[in-house]
């Protein structure tokens, strides 16, 4: 059984005089113990709201409605009272954010913030807690940890702050760690350090990780399973290799065709997705991606596309998915170099030109 099973999660923000925002519109995904699961999508697709809803950290504002289930180890987190939720948070589930300053207290030394977590959840005190805190900082690669314990968050660089936050998050050996764009604010060489650290922690402790990011490169390097989100729904779920070797949902195909790759040469034209996320169809009226989709057919509009479960552990929400390049549907997967690029452009090319003209008008 899955460690975390998110089922039809929805989050709406209603405000008087304004249109209700369906920030999350029926998201389902699951995370097995020790698994690294990616949630990818562009800004505004509902990644952060999904994770905050699971953690019970959404701002309690009037008009907020959360529906569906988020079952962690048999308990529906959405049904818990604040107190039990806080107990689980920190002990069993921890979260790190893009901006570590927002979750570190600026007027309390790092050391005290780490020992506080150790005291609250593991009952450690005094020298034992201090020693463990220093070991944690050391483990996440903070130099001279004993001295750092006495310092304040603003005295650390962005990368070091993120490490300190990771130390606090793993202090109680949680079974699940949710990381929301943990490296987006960091430079790429620092990002590489933090990603390596997260991989190591997951490998050594068996903690499951939900990695939230807009960067497909990041998930390619570390996730076992990847969920692609668009407009508040998961549109494709697949294991890492099949997803990149043969993306089926046109949005996934489009994303992969849009990214300049370090290993592709000068002047290789990118295949952008036409239009912008503003060009949206509400899910109840059909496929939200239809206004931008190059594979659109009549059936795409009218009702939201059903989830299709494919044989290879994959599912997508599309009535006209991209074909698997050059293969019979039931043949075994043997990903090849170059399959991504070929698959992506083949699938999108013919319809692309016509549709782009339409969209840019």
């Amino acid at each position: 059984m899955a460690l975390l099973e998110v089922d039809d999660l929805s989050v709406t923000f209603a405000r008087r005089g304004q249109r209700t925002v369906h920030a999350v519109d029926g998201v389902s995904f699951s995370v097995d113990a020790g698994e690294v699961v990616g949630l990818v999508g562009e800004s505004g697709c509902g990644k952060s709201v999904t994770s905050l809803a699971i953690m019970g950290l959404l701002p309690k504002q009037p008009g907020l409605r959360v529906g569906g289930k988020a079952v962690f180890d048999g308990t529906d987190l959405l049904q818990l009272d604040d107190r039990s939720r806080r107990d689980i948070r920190g002990r069993d589930i921890a979260m790190i954010f893009q901006d570590p300053l927002s979750s570190l207290n600026p007027v309390i030394p790092i050391g005290l913030q780490v020992t506080e977590v150790l005291t609250r959840h593991r009952g450690m005190k005094g020298e034992a807690a201090a020693k463990e805190a220093a070991e944690l900082l050391d483990r996440v690669g903070i130099p001279d940890p004993r001295r750092r314990l006495k310092e304040y968050p603003h005295q650390l660089s962005g990368g070091m702050r993120q490490r300190a936050l990771i130390a606090m998050a793993v202090a109680c050996r949680p079974r699940l760690l949710i990381a929301d764009e943990p490296t987006t604010a960091l430079d790429v060489t620092i990002q590489a350090q933090i990603l390596e650290l997260l991989k190591e922690l997951v490998r050594d402790s068996g903690t499951a990780l939900v990695m939230i990011t807009h960067d497909l490169g990041v998930v390619a390097g570390m996730c076992d399973t990847i969920n692609v989100l668009y407009a508040g729904r998961v549109v494709e779920t697949a294991r890492r290799r099949p997803l990149f070797a043969a993306p089926r949902h046109p949005y996934t195909v489009g994303l992969l065709g849009s990214i300049p790759r370090l290993d592709s040469g000068r002047g290789e034209r990118l295949t952008p997705i036409p239009g912008s996320v503003r060009d949206l169809l509400p899910w109840p009226d059909g496929c939200a991606f239809a206004p931008r989709c190059t594979r659109r057919v009549d059936d795409c509009v009218g009702a939201p596309p059903e989830l299709v479960l494919a044989h290879d552990d994959r599912s997508y929400r599309c009535v006209n998915p991209a074909p698997v390049p050059g293969r019979e549907p039931d043949s075994a997967f043997a990903p090849q170099t170059g399959a991504v690029a070929a698959g992506a452009s083949d699938a999108a090319a013919p319809a692309e030109a016509a549709s782009r003209e339409e969209e840019s008008a």
Partner: protein, 367 residues
């Protein structure tokens, strides 16, 4: 290469910002050497890509090139003319020929101006397009070139999506008919699906109009994609310069190798197999850069001699220019990388003690 092949030639460019302290009297206590001796040339109709991590001086270099920030030293030749010696008046008339595109179109566009007035403003300032009809025609052509519809003219920046706003920013630069465009992080504020639209647009415009670009970005994949020549910057100086392909195939400088290996590639096969060079520690502060080779505090190949006390110059090795004393011996594999102990780097511009900060959350409230 002769001067006429290169539209832009930068020699020993320096931009040093004074660091001031003191409550009553501003005392200069040091300098941030944001750009500290850069040479580069951009051939006509080509793209020079400048890459490096935040704070390494990319934007300052771009601004100094256009004389938007006065250089502390060195020269910038544009079409043979040294811009640093021009009178204000002559510089103004040169400005039309070199334009800039910014990262965040929203903050560089006046929210109270509609698109028509944004575009007309530049034309009027430079006295282009004598009549109203003439201006209309130029603006219409520019809109077509950047793929914006005519109805955009009466709209305001906030009514557009991020990608369209960047098109407005490009149109504003383009309407003056420039030869050089300095694009500072032109796509980094955009979503990936939109980045590709803008990258393709920049490519198309270059092909059609023969534009020369200096593209500044922190994303090496983007830079490699659109640049003929790539310059890698570290703490105010170029550490390596080569064609994008050469740089990718055979990065010579240890920093380039580390940077390259840190860029995620959306392909599991590549990700699982590639060489990883993890740098320890943070980028040192440009106000207090390391002595000798500025990379020596983080360099996995640093040697006990020279690295800490002699600043390497950019020199030609094969098809690349590299600023490393030991580049040849690193490339041949004779020198091996070693472990580096991370040094603590303080965030530059914040005080020593925490002041009173409002609304502290309780410790570890999220974790």
């Amino acid at each position: 290469m002769t001067g006429s092949e290169n539209l832009v030639e930068v020699r020993d460019l320096k931009v040093h910002f004074p660091i001031k302290r003191g409550v009553v009297f501003d005392k200069v206590v040091g300098h941030v050497k944001a750009v500290d001796g850069v040479d580069l040339s951009i051939p006509r109709g080509r793209t020079y890509g400048l890459v490096g991590e935040s704070g390494c001086g990319k934007s300052t270099l771009g601004r100094a090139l256009l004389q938007l920030t006065p250089p502390t030293g060195g020269e910038v030749r544009f079409d043979g003319v040294d811009l640093t010696r021009l009178s204000a008046g002559r510089l103004r008339s040169m400005r039309r020929r070199m334009q800039m595109i910014f990262q965040d179109p929203m903050s560089s566009l006046d929210p109270r101006q509609n698109v028509e007035s944004i575009l007309t403003e530049g034309l009027q300032a430079h006295g282009i397009g004598g009549s109203r009809d003439e201006r209309r025609r130029i603006i219409g052509e520019t809109l077509d070139a950047v793929g914006l519809p005519r109805w955009a003219l009466s709209r305001y920046p906030h009514e557009f999506s991020g990608g369209q706003r960047q098109r407005i920013g490009i149109a504003r630069a383009l309407v003056l008919g420039p030869e050089l465009i300095v694009a500072d992080e032109p796509v980094s504020a955009l979503d990936v699906s939109i980045q590709a639209q803008v990258v393709n647009l920049l490519d198309e415009l270059q092909e059609r109009l023969g534009l020369t670009y200096l593209v500044i970005a922190h994303d090496l994949a983007v830079v490699r994609h659109i640049s003929d020549v790539v310059g890698v910057m570290y703490l105010g100086a170029l550490v390596e310069e080569a064609s994008g392909d050469q740089l990718y195939r055979e990065p010579m400088h240890p920093y380039t190798r580390a940077l390259m290996s840190a860029v995620p590639v959306p392909d599991p096969d590549v990700e699982d197999q590639r060489e990883r060079i993890l740098l320890s520690g943070d980028l040192p502060s440009p106000a207090n850069p390391p002595s000798g080779c500025r990379f020596h505090t983080r360099c996995p190949w640093a040697q006990p001699t020279r690295c800490a006390d002699e600043r390497p110059v950019l020199r030609q090795i094969g098809g690349s220019k590299v600023a490393c004393h030991f580049a040849e011996r690193i490339a041949s594999g004779e020198l091996r990388p070693h472990r580096v102990t991370a040094e603590v780097v303080r965030p530059a511009d914040e005080g020593d003690a925490p002041g009173v900060v409002s609304a502290p959350s309780e410790p570890g409230s999220y974790v």
